[in-house]
């Protein structure tokens, strides 16, 4: 249990750090857009290749927020069967939902890895920056979603088992 808690803590720390880096990238992008607009306005000359930079940054920014959203269960869930079938079924339906989410992220990471291999020789349109390293980085960030989701799933299974045995009956926070 102590080991599980330590792993969860380190994964949570990592997801927070990555989200912070993602936020920094978002701010850098926002500043670049402002500079681009000002350059267009006053010097009639925008930042060259701005679209290329945006294209590369946006996937990394998006991917950097997924792990923290998963581990904090900030995703939207819709309970409709659980309310009809009662608490006993609801906890197990939650487990099924989390397992599907886990499976989905495994599929996404798998496909992203394939895509990163496929774009090995491709580059951006104007600045000709290779895009594969950025897609590998995105794949890496999304890979972190798997342990994050594993923790959430394990926690739901634990809740379901214990609610069954009558030791505790806790409701999910999501």
């Amino acid at each position: 249990m102590i080991l599980t808690s330590a792993i969860e803590k380190s994964i949570r720390k990592t997801t927070e750090l990555i989200a912070l880096i993602g936020l920094s990238c978002l701010l850098i992008q926002a500043v670049m857009i402002v500079i681009d607009v000002l350059l267009r306005l006053f010097l009639n000359s925008p930042l060259f290749g701005m679209e290329d930079i945006n294209q590369l940054l946006i996937t990394i920014i998006l991917a950097s927020f997924f792990p923290i959203l998963l581990i904090d269960s900030k995703n939207i869930t819709i309970d409709f069967l659980g309310q009809l079938l009662g608490t006993k079924f609801k906890v197990w339906l939650d487990v099924v939902g989390q397992l599907f989410t886990l499976l989905l992220f495994i599929l996404v990471v798998w496909q992203l890895a394939i895509f990163s291999i496929e774009v090995e020789y491709q580059h951006t349109l104007i600045l000709q920056i290779p895009i594969a390293p950025f897609w590998w980085l995105t794949t890496g960030l999304m890979t972190l979603c798997i342990p994050a989701q594993l923790i959430v799933t394990a926690s739901k299974i634990y809740q379901a088992i214990h609610s069954h045995s009558g030791i505790s009956e806790t409701e999910g926070t999501d």
Binding site: R40, N44, S45, P46, F48, G49, M50, E51, D52, N54, F115, E118, V119, Y121, Q122, H123, T124, L125, I126, L127, Q128, P130
Partner: protein, 345 residues
Amino acid sequence: MYLLIKQLSVLIFLIPLVFTTPVKAAPPALRVASFISPLSPQNADVIAPWIQNLKKLSDNELDVDFYPGGSLGRHGDYQLKLLLDGVHDVSLIVPGYTPGRFPDNNIFELPLLMNSSLEASLAYYRMIKDGYLRGYEDTKLISVFMSQPYFLHLNTPYQSLDDLKGKKIRVAGYLQAEIIRRLGGTPIGGTPVTQIRESISRGLIDGTLLGWDSMHIFGVKHVTHYHIEIPVTYTPILLLMNLASYESLDSKHRTLIDQSSGEEMVNHFSTATTALALKIYEETLDQDGQHFITPDKDELSRWHKALSPIEQSWINQNPNGRWRMKGLNEILTAVRRELNTDSKS
């Protein structure tokens, strides 16, 4: 009596089974996809008749379904992936959407190199066939065509190159950016072709490089009034087949595909798109407020002087660039001889 009726009814059910020949499982239909409008000349005048012809030649043994207008994937960027993943068996691909995937294709974007879409298209096809261009090994080449020549269209007056100084021109790709930069303009990337009209209307850009067919399709002819009559550059377009789909066909059908594609189809593509471009060009020519600028010899020479370093730079940067350029020049000479056209403009 009851037994007899029962036996007769069993026989009635069995008779059709005895006389029915075993049904061989039909091969799956080939999915031909194109993300552009079903009414476009490429789809209506070339790909659709090609499919009909394939069916006819194979006595309808070859089952081919056509999905134009992006019904099997709307975005041009994803067409190659959809083809390689087997979602499409044959697909219309704009290689420019995946820069670097076909690394030598931009030889056809070099400025002032070719005179017409037809000669550029034939040269492109032969360059691939002769192994001058990389990136085609994992697909089956059906046909190619080159866009209509890209002219410079502006919404501000133009008399000479001096008028281009500081003008914001939309570009698609680093070579177009280099062309505009060397002509004195400011290249603006990141404007999809569908947004050119709005961007010019809002004053975000002053003009664009575009073919006359696209000028019509994307409504850019309504917002630009100065058209410089120099064919500056081209964009290659491909009709590719998934290699596994091709190899899964029996040899009779593979031969049919080989015979009905290739240079004959290149000619059809080029004729169809040129007809539309000419129609639009002539319609615009007759409209009030439209100015067509044909540069004189001195002005043309200024353009050549400004743009010639790009070719040398490409040769230096591309591995085996000199060999590829030599190959292109030889092929172009042969094509021009066949077409009885002039040499390089």
